[in-house]
Amino acid sequence: MDPLEALVAQIQGLSSTPGDIARLHIILKQADDSLRAESTRLSPVLGQLAPSEHSLGFLYVLDAFTSGQISKQQAETSVPIITGFINACNAEQIRLAPEKFVLVCKRLKDQVMMLEAPIRGAGPLLTAARKLQLSTEHLTPLHSDFLMLCVLAKCYKTGLSILEDDIFEVDQPRDLFLYCYYGGMICIGLKRFQKALDLLHNVVTAPMSTLNAIAVEAYKKYILVSLIHHGQLSTSLPKYASSVAQRSLKNFCQPYIELASSYGTEKIAELEAYVQTNTEKFENDNNLGLVKQVVLSMYKRNIQRLTQTYLTLSLQDIANTVQLNSPKEAEMHVLQMIQDGEIYATINQRDGMVRFLEDPEQYKTCEMIENIDSSIQRIMALSRKLSAMDEQISCDQLYLSKVGRERQRYDFDDFDVPTKFNI
């Protein structure tokens, strides 16, 4: 019997119970190479298998089918097949062979990019990531690919849904870097600067032994977003950042650091001049849009400072203090800021006056109470998680062995660490 057909029969037969699936898995692993050899004959085979029931088998066949060079026309046909598979497959079966699954999805991404339609891959990859995850706190390699497609396709909202999950478990640090970097870009696109700052901060302060390009690019964006959101940049990275980052990150981001110091002088003319001279550099890094936002944020910050000292101020005075060209421009800025909720004010057009108001939030509403309550719950949960992790590490074998070695330097009265932990 044709080995291929035999295989198909086995797949169809052994896909019902978990015990059978385990046997099937072993068989499939053995048959992997032979499948690859027959990649050309595999498309009818795919038709015979049902993705939802025979997910594991389908996966192996699909992997063999898509391995090797694929031209654009072939991509056209295979993309729907892969998409259909992802949508229909059974999550438990997939998790038995995660690397293959990831490989298939990466191929999907490549094909979608080749076809220059990244949006076709975004949805499927989201489903794939969710299926592959062991829990919502788990980061898979698919997350970063998914986010990259979202950035390319400019569909930021879909990306945001996956960013709302907190990530605590990571397989590969590189996945995390890419995930945070693309996640940061998506948040910047949606103007959620605080979240972008958090994500980029994670990249920059992650433990690393050597500097990588992702961290450098992330740091550049981090500087710009920090200026937009906070109006200042802390000059040194926190202590927990890796020593490599602390030493060398700044050397690669020199123009941005100078931009930050120019921003600190609070002179708009200087800032704009600096941006003008360095436009090329910013453009090469694809950061020119962000830099323009930085300049805009400086106007906003100056106007915000005025709310602290004045109750009412004429538009002419605002224009003069903030170094704008005319009262009309000042009015536009103030109007924009009121609409964005950045200041509280009313504009009296007849007198050309702006009246600054206090923040109307009185912290007395039910929503506010619920907000505070949910924050408390969340933080308590986080605290518990932190203590749990602490306990877990203190019982960890490797940790104890390392500590056990050091403990011998101290007094003898201390309890003896059993020798099996001394490596």
Binding site: I167, V170, D171, H201, T309, L311, S375, L382, S383
Partner: protein
Amino acid sequence: MDADDETFAPITDEVGANGGDEQRSRRPIISGDHLDIEAYASLYSGRTKIMRLLFIADHSSDEKVGNPSMNLEALRMAYDEIKKGENTQLMREVAQKINGRLGPSYELDSAWCDAVDHRAEQKKEKLDNELNAYRTNLIKESIRMGYNDFGDFYYAHGQLGDAFKSYVRTRDYCTTSKHIVHMCMSVILVSIEMGQFTHVTSYVNKAEQAPDALDSITIAKLRCAAGLANLEAKKYKLAARKFLETNPELGSHYSEVIAPQDVATYGGLCALATFDRTELKSKVIDNLNFRNFLELVPEVRELINDFYSSHYASCLEYLGNLKANLLLDIHLHDHVETLYDQIRHKALIQYTLPFVSVDLSMMANAFKTTVAELQKELEALITDNQIQARIDSHNKILYARHADQRNATFQRVLETGREFDRDVRSMLLRSNLVKHDYNVRQFRKL
């Protein structure tokens, strides 16, 4: 409230007018005349007299208020004073500055210079021989006197560095605390002339550690010296405290360094710039000792009283009048601007403190400035968080503003919660990464 206020009706007018009204001529405001150089110089003696006269000469030529006659007057007096001493270096300097403008009797007298130099050589040799003799004989007291004489000699000839070294050398041969005090005083004098006020502070401390040998005049001198050192170091509050602690027995005993008028002026101005109201009242206005000093400079006394009783316009007017003369003072010259700014800011802050709302035009009137200028000054103070208020630029009113504690607390709480959330989450993530990395490395090793 002041017990001086007899009637209640005119209070509102007084508050508004703030002492600037012409009709209220209770206190005639004395304008600071051009400095009477002879009177000024007569307060001092020794080298500081010459230095002060030279300083006046230098600065009266470029001050707007100075006039050429003051310049020449100062130089003439300096010349006369130098002729009485033995400092040829200064003589040459003064002669060059005079440049023949005062006539033939005030030109460089080379004969005199040579004679003085010659005598100096001889004296130096003599002192040297004596000192060597004493040193071989190892009589402590004589050696000490020898070095002291050397110090005096160098000081008279303007070689301040050598004088300093000589005086410091006497330290090893001081036996009683009186000697130590004498040594400290000499060193302090030289250091002040040299402008090295760090030494002044350390030697003042040293001298104060021998309390049994100190009479009240010496204590007063040490306080003045300490005050001067603090003034130079821009520690105005400490300087004020030192000057205020000087007892009036000082009189003119320290005329080689400072006059009692200076003690009053420096102490008064520094106190005004740095003390708060309670300190000002207890340490300056009610200070009986200091009152003796203040009597010597009635303008400073008046301006402190005006400030305390909130008559800011007249206070600032006194200050303005005194400014020209204060800029000619050798020690205060660099600090006048800073002190004046601080006093003005304090006046502005104190003015707004008791009110819920203040009309800016009335305030501008009280401070004798325009509303626009005043608005700028207030804006700076508000941004600096010195005044808690907000300006209604349309109606030109200043409204006091007290931060809402409750809202601020809520905001802080929510913000802290968010930060904690962020930090713990990134911490857990990072520890996971480290654990993963460590595991990988360990398993590779195993």
